[in-house]
């Protein structure tokens, strides 16, 4: 009891202090900002949060790298509910940032609305190309079909069963590019390899990802690629349990299951964020445009850890394909028709 | 009993005062008990008896005052301290683990063990030795749920003795016993005191005090009124000291004038919650202008009978008519609408909404009727006016219809229920254990109210576990045993022993 009463008194004392002090304590913290005028960039995550093992996390890594390399101020704000996007845009606006990032196409509406209301504020969005991009907005998209093509080729070369799988998030063009790139890559490896394909209609339902993966493995697929955000965590879990291969997406997902993640189709959101933030700092903000990053710009690629499980000869072939794409020797298909029309190239 | 040693004081409580906020539950109370003595604590409900023994048992920490055990001053801040000083308590509601056996319950918390393994053999031997020494017959291997209430009480006493108790506190020990079991208990108390144990017994039944106690301390409104040698006083003396005025024990009533049948139950079969038959072909009738008393030990179907009468339990078969209308299987609402009112057994659980005010409780059965409400809107003015009228008429104290029902004393809670039920102007009034836990003054009030209803020509069905009450209040008595009326007799000149025998299943059919 005595201890409790001491604790109580301590709490009271602390309460008094915390009630009285804040004004003086806070004032000096804000001043230096105005003096130095460092470029400051903030990002608002979608509901995945900053530790989503996927593009939100990758985006934050990009910002941190930018901070380390050329000293800009960076911060982030997580969205917990869909209803948080709009207020979070306001919060980002109020904290005087030079550029506000929206991470993910789910924030397209919120960014557009904010950009229209605040024409003097610069915005950028990952994974979204507006039809009419306002002058103060940049859309950043990635040529996802290119990296998908490369992992598709690896999957096609390495499958034992002649069957591979693809799990998509929600079915629309942005994700379909992964699917078609992947299918084209598989086709490059062997025309008779079957690709099972299914959409989870979600980007976060890991349980659903796991059940789709399990059923694909049951149908004989031994390698499954996903482009489904958090849904993919379920796939990787299933791969681990069944001792099969999974191919990660967005980031190098090897760390999630080092023995079961064959490779990852990396969408270098971090590079995208880093590059554009650098442009901003250099005063070259490409407002009103959609910027596309592909293999050539280091915007997409396969994971550096691929060499762990993928034999060197296959990797050499992948490298060759990569060069051909960069050189423009052929265009990677990104629609159902172009995949249909695709004929494997000579290596 | 006269087994005490007047030179040896074992318990000496001096100037005990216990305050709860502004309420003074004990006000400078002294209590002196000698070795081998049976000392009764007598008082009305809420007088402060239980508070006093709770201080002795370490459950409450007195605001002021001192406690000496065998001459040594002890700070009783925990029941464990009390147990260490040889004090044991048998609560009114037994604290037993029902699926455990008798021995398991007795040794609970003090298990004998050999290298960490429970040594049941040794424990059982010890328990049997104890029970033989004090004449406490038990079946050591039976489960608590399968034995009688009387045996459960013996288990509780053994539990205290097993923990080395020399001073036993018994809180209302006879409330749940049959007349025969009460005799057994008296014998047990005699055995215990002969072997030097000291007994403090809490009760508000005067007869028990004259039967077993050597001394009696009377407490009224938290204050000690007197300590008397029981041999020197009469029951009437004790009662007037307890209540503070003269009390009449004999229920005054004129001869009954029964006429038409109101309630008629035929061949009623009902199962209890465990799906075991509780009523097996019960049959009874109650007429206008008479009180039928149902005598019996708790657990012989009274509870199920009450529930069927109210309409909350389904019957298997049989019939139950009120004024010729079959009401078996009807909802409580329909039964109420057929002019049947009930004073339920458990006033706190079934009679009152404790967090509601007196006024809100008074309209519980009629809140949907005008003038208390109109088209779904409550009319508080009408409710209050009506409640105020009843509060005055039935002398509910405090005289405040906005008072929270749960804060009233037991007697006044019962008055609220009686006011509500009687003001319904029923043809049939059912009263189940209407005086349970009430003090002498309140009991007198309830009995008079029941008789007044009879005299108005109502039919009254009284179900009670108190044999005295049934004999005193009723005009006819039906004895219930294992779900049947095993005997019926006139109340006037009824022989308590004969009824007691029937209640225990020993009567003629």
């Amino acid at each position: 009891m005595k201890k409790l009463s001491i604790l109580f008194t301590a709490m009271l004392a602390l309460m008094v202090v915390s009630c009285n002090k804040p004004k003086e304590a806070a004032a000096p913290a804000e001043e230096p900002k105005q003096v130095e005028k460092t470029v400051s960039v903030t990002m608002v995550t979608d509901v995945g949060g900053v530790n989503d093992q996927s593009f939100n996390q990758s985006a934050w890594e990009g910002l941190q790298k930018a901070k380390a390399d050329f000293g800009i101020d960076v911060s982030y704000k997580e969205s917990k509910q869909n209803a948080d996007y709009a207020p979070n845009m306001e919060i980002a606006l109020d904290s005087d940032n030079d550029l506000i990032w929206g991470i993910g196409f789910m924030m397209a509406d919120a960014i557009m609305e904010a950009a229209q209301n605040n024409p003097d504020q610069k915005y950028a969005i990952i994974d979204n190309a507006y039809e009419n991009t306002p002058e103060n907005v940049v859309g950043v998209v990635f040529e996802a079909e290119q990296c998908s093509y490369l992992v598709g080729y690896i999957a096609g070369r390495m499958t034992q069963t002649g069957k591979v799988g693809f799990i998509g998030g929600i079915e629309f063009f942005l994700i379909q590019e992964f699917e078609y790139g992947f299918k084209a890559g598989v086709k490059q490896a062997g025309a008779d390899i079957e690709v099972l394909s299914q959409y989870a209609e979600s980007f976060s339902d890991a349980a659903k990802g796991k059940s789709i993966a399990n059923s694909m493995y049951q149908q004989g697929a031994d390698i499954i690629f996903h482009a489904a955000g958090g849904v993919g965590n379920g796939l990787i879990e299933a791969a681990k349990e069944q001792g099969k291969w999974a191919i990660g997406v967005d980031r190098d997902q090897s760390s999630l299951a080092p023995e079961n993640v064959l490779t990852s189709a990396m969408k270098r959101v971090d590079n995208g964020i880093y590059n554009l933030s650098k442009d901003l700092a250099d005063g070259k903000f490409p407002g009103g445009k959609t910027v596309s990053y592909g293999l050539a710009e280091n915007g997409v690629g396969i994971a550096p850890t691929s060499s762990k499980h993928v034999p060197a000869d296959i990797l050499a072939e992948v490298e060759k394909l990569e060069e051909m794409i960069i050189d423009g020797a052929f265009v990677v298909p990104n629609t159902a028709e172009t995949v249909e029309a695709y004929t494997p190239v000579e290596l | 009993m006269n087994n005490y040693d007047s030179n040896q004081i074992v318990v000496d409580m001096k100037g005990i005062t216990q305050k709860f906020g502004t309420l003074v539950a004990n006000d400078n109370v002294d209590l002196t008990v000698h070795r081998g003595e049976v000392h009764a604590l007598l008082g009305e409900n809420g007088a402060g008896k239980t508070t006093l023994v709770n201080s002795l048992y370490g459950l409450y920490h007195p605001t002021s005052g001192e406690i000496f055990i065998n001459g040594e001053k002890v700070i009783m801040d925990d029941p464990n301290v009390a147990i260490q000083h040889g004090i044991g308590m048998v609560h009114q509601h037994f604290m037993l683990v029902k699926p455990f056996t008798v021995v398991e319950n007795i040794i609970l918390g003090l298990e004998t063990h050999k290298h960490g393994v429970l040594d049941m053999k040794k424990a059982k031997d010890q328990v049997i030795a104890l029970s033989e020494r004090y004449g406490l017959t038990i079946d050591p291997d039976a489960c608590i749920q399968d034995i009688t209430v009387g045996m459960q009480q013996r288990v509780e006493i053994l539990k205290a003795l097993y923990r080395g108790a020399d001073i036993l506190i018994l809180d209302e020990p006879t409330a749940v016993l049959t007349p025969q079991e009460i005799l057994d208990l008296i014998q047990i108390i005699d055995n215990l005191t002969k072997q030097g144990k000291t007994i403090i017994i809490i009760t508000h039944k005067l007869k028990e005090i004259t039967d077993v106690a050597d001394f009696c301390t009377i407490i009224r409104r938290g204050k000690k009124i007197d300590t008397v040698r029981v041999a020197d006083v009469s029951e009437a003396d004790l009662a007037s000291k307890m209540v503070g005025r003269e009390v009449s024990f004999k229920v005054e009533k004129s001869k009954a004038a029964p006429s038409d049948i109101v309630l008629e139950i035929k061949d009623l079969h009902v199962k209890d919650n465990r799906d075991i038959p509780a009523l097996r072909g019960l049959k009874l009738t109650v007429r206008k202008g008479e009180i039928l008393g149902i005598a019996g030990v708790d657990g012989n179907g009274q509870n199920e009978l009450e529930e069927v009468l109210i309409g909350v339990r389904k019957a298997e078969s049989g019939s139950m008519t009120v004024n010729g209308t079959d009401l078996l299987g009807k909802s409580p609402r329909e039964i109420l609408d057929h002019k049947v009112s009930t004073i339920p057994q458990d006033r706190q659980k079934r009679g009152l909404v404790m967090d509601y005010s007196v006024a809100e409780n008074i309209i519980l059965e009629n809140y949907k009727k005008e003038p208390f409400s109109k088209k779904g809107w409550l009319n508080f003015e009408a409710i209050r006016n009506y409640a105020r009228k009843l509060v005055t008429e039935f002398d509910i104290r405090p005289n405040d219809e906005d008072y929270r029902a749960g804060s009233l004393s037991g007697g006044n809670q019962q008055k609220v229920i009686i006011a509500r039920e009687i003001s319904n102007n029923p043809d049939l009034l059912i009263a189940v254990q209407p005086t349970r836990g009430l003090d002498v003054g309140a009991i007198e009030y309830v009995h008079k109210a029941l008789i007044a209803q009879r005299d108005k020509g109502k039919a009254v069905l009284l179900i009670s576990f108190e044999l005295d009450e049934v004999i005193n209040v009723s005009d006819r008595i039906g004895v219930i045993y294992e779900g049947q009326i095993v005997g019926e007799l006139k109340a006037e000149g009824a022989d308590e022993n004969e009824i007691g025998l029937m209640m225990a299943g020993g009567g003629k059919k």
């Binding site: 304590a25 806070a26 911060s75 997580e78 209301n117 | 409550l378």
Partner: protein, 368 residues
Amino acid sequence: MSEKKKLTDSPVWITMISISFGLIFGAIILLIIGYNPLTAFTVILKGIFSKPKYISWTVIYATPIILTGLSVAFAFKTGLFNIGAEGQYIVGAITAALAGYFISLPPILHIPLVLILSIGAGAFWGSISGYLKAKYEVNEVISTIMLNWVALYLNNFIVLHDKVKREGSEATNKVLDSAQLIFANTWKTSEAGISWRKVHPFFGDILRTPANGGFLIAVGAAIVVLIILNKTTLGYSLKAVGINREAAEFGGINVPSNIVSAMAISGGLAGLAGAVQVLGFTREASALAASEGYGFEGITVALIGANNPIGCVLAGLLYGAMKYGGSKIQPAIGAPYEIISIIMGMIVLFISMPKLIKTLKLKKKEDK
């Protein structure tokens, strides 16, 4: 009731103490993980009060949880534990999104119609649990939790249906203008609106947010609940069943039908919460990976508000303020947003331990 109670014994006091304790606890956690609690609380306070639009956002955040709080509190008052406000909210929200898009009516009819349909949907969802309890004695805690999941997946099934889904999104189409509750929604972005907003900085700032009529609806609902509970025979019987089911049954009150009614009203309030959120703010219902938590936050609100309707409005505002203002510590000082959940959790914990607070108080008195 006639006993005069000291201020320090009243539930309001205990709530105030609990809130202080919760904040202090949050401060200690912040200190431990290396952030200055004073700076954090300053950010929070400024983030709530320093601009008109912040206050508006706070109210917007508070609106749905006031209503789910009322829902849970109403159930508590009638002796039921409605953990299903979450599911009832979802059902109400999807109903509002559908009725707000597929039905076309003038606003004067459209808004009430959508609200009524959503209340009805929530009430239906709640009454399932009520019926199961009344008829088969299924514990409402279990059935409401299960129904939360059913509501979640039903919502996703409907949202992702081809005819409902908005192209390239995980959400429904936006509700029509005739159904939305946002103040001056089209006018404020028009030329006239923009210039008016420049001249009137205070209201202009508020109009930057989707300030809407939802809060007024929530306050109205609180008043209606207050009236139902205290002035009507329905409230009388519901409370009687809640306090003492057996006594109510013995007194001739139809207990099963009261349980169903109580759950229906509770569910209707949660359904209204969903409708208000959709019509007043999001204008769409989204596919959900997991519960958004409005119903669970309602439990917190009800507990802090001591199950009193007015208390729920205040507690909802507190929670809304903490949710909105509290989230600002993340970009400002990099402290985790979760601290707010910890603080709210601790407040509830302290509120549910009034004995501890009383003991501390007593001890303090004795020490003197």
